[in-house]
Symmetry: C2
Subunit: 134 residues, 2 copies
DNA sequence: ATACTTGCAAAACATTTGCAGTGAG
DNA sequence: CTCACTGCAAATGTTTTGCAAGTAT
């Protein structure tokens, strides 16, 4: 990422303030909020560069690629995917010792853990019998 | 899945004998091997039904949706994805108590754990200086 | 016979790429 | 001024869907 344009600035801001992984689509929607003329292609391009650069990390949850800040202060964490609203949240803790799971002969370099279920917001909607759409 | 047709039989057979998660595309290719006229749409439809039904489970590894038999004798297991050969292997063990990771208010229904690294075959190829493609 | 299934092709999406115009340096 | 960046639209690739014909029950 060489030139500092308004759109890239906005895109970075979106991820910086999101606090959770965003799909390129979510990021585009949020960014267009501040810069309506911004096109999705630009978001895809910027996101890819930011990921290559290491500022963002890519992860795939529920069949969709998502990106989030590489370092948010805490180093390693995992994700919770809500199948109700399809949002992905960060989980601050790590599962711990997984090396015992690695088959002999294999070399583990990283691991990815995703919990699936309903987020608190969706749980509450369900409880109150509420029917609120996205 | 109500009627027992030749194509569904073939599709089930493909997953049953695969021994590892398959993408819809892989499944379609394998099934068309036994039933050339079979279309991808049918595979997608069948796979979705089988997954709803619980006979297959969906997982996302390395950016692609894959499906595999829900119960292969052992109940719960995880996956190891080799970034070298892009194959996914089963890991018989489960990480254990993950409920402590769930944020309060959230309800976890399942979890998915993927270890990334190199499988034994690829590790050996590397050691022996070998260079073999997929 | 009935109506669930299938194959095909079009549709719906998500992501990428080509291009000419725009703007950062 | 230059050339990287952007927006638009067309191109890709994947999964879904509409429909008429096929077939299990």
């Amino acid at each position: 990422m060489q030139r500092n344009t308004r759109q890239r600035e906005v895109i970075r801001e979106v991820f910086a303030s999101a606090g959770r992984p965003l799909t390129p689509q979510e990021a585009a929607a949020a960014a267009q909020d501040a810069l309506p003329s911004l096109g999705v292609a630009t978001v895809y391009r910027a996101v890819k560069e930011l990921a290559d650069e290491g500022w963002l990390v890519a992860l795939t949850v529920a069949g969709t690629m998502r990106f989030e800040l590489a370092s948010k202060g805490h180093d390693h964490h995992h994700h919770f995917h809500c199948h109700r609203c399809d949002r992905t949240f960060d989980i601050e803790a790590c599962a711990g010792d997984l090396s015992r799971l690695v088959p002999s002969g294999f070399v583990m370099e990283s691991h990815e853990l995703t919990l699936n279920g309903a987020c608190s917001a969706c749980v509450q909607k369900t409880r109150s019998g509420g029917r609120r759409a996205r």
